[in-house]
Symmetry: C2
Subunit: 111 residues, 2 copies
């Protein structure tokens, strides 16, 4: 695959240290990452005032919190956090999880 074509599950990288973010693409308009969560790892709830975020689970199971709602998402399920809405993700399962994450616009792009 080239810079335009990606196999996200082939790009995963896990660390016992913390959740890993593998970047596939970025521009001023967006970033497209793969978040790689071992059991117990998470991204704590936080908010972006001007950026939307989409979580799309590729493998495994994650709990995703959007505003005051939390749901367990499996592969091929997704969640959207609109700008200004608190959101976070946790892997409370016993297996690794990989999640495609797209944020728009990019919060801090240095082209």
């Amino acid at each position: 695959m080239t810079a335009s074509f990606h196999s996200p599950l082939g790009a995963t990288s896990f660390s016992d240290d913390k959740m890993q973010k593998v970047n596939l693409y970025e521009s001023a308009q967006m970033f497209c990452d793969v978040y790689c969560l071992l059991p117990g790892q998470s991204q704590k709830p936080h908010t972006h005032d001007e950026n939307d975020k989409v979580y799309h689970v590729l493998e495994g199971v994650c709990e995703v919190e959007i505003g005051d709602e939390t749901q367990k998402l499996e592969a091929n399920e997704l969640a959207v956090a609109p700008a200004g809405v608190v959101h976070g993700i946790r892997n409370k399962s016993g297996s690794p999880a990989s999640v495609l994450v797209i944020m728009a616009p990019h919060p801090n792009f240095n082209g």
Copy 2:
């Protein structure tokens, strides 16, 4: 699932008439659609001057054209068309295909 949580493969809608676009979410920052392509259906190559587009195949097989490169993508493979780069998608297989499509920013959002 609520407005924040979606199961894209449960939202697919196919038509013999043409490729269907099912919207899951939209804002000024992005849209998130599922493109539903029966065998032989396509979105012709075109360009957006200021918008990036991500195609992420959910099921089936599609040919995706980005600039001067065309690749066959299966489930869990993705392609990125940066702003200004010609792109298109075709289902040349014998089975239906569903593709998660995110464009940022939204090209014509009417909030």
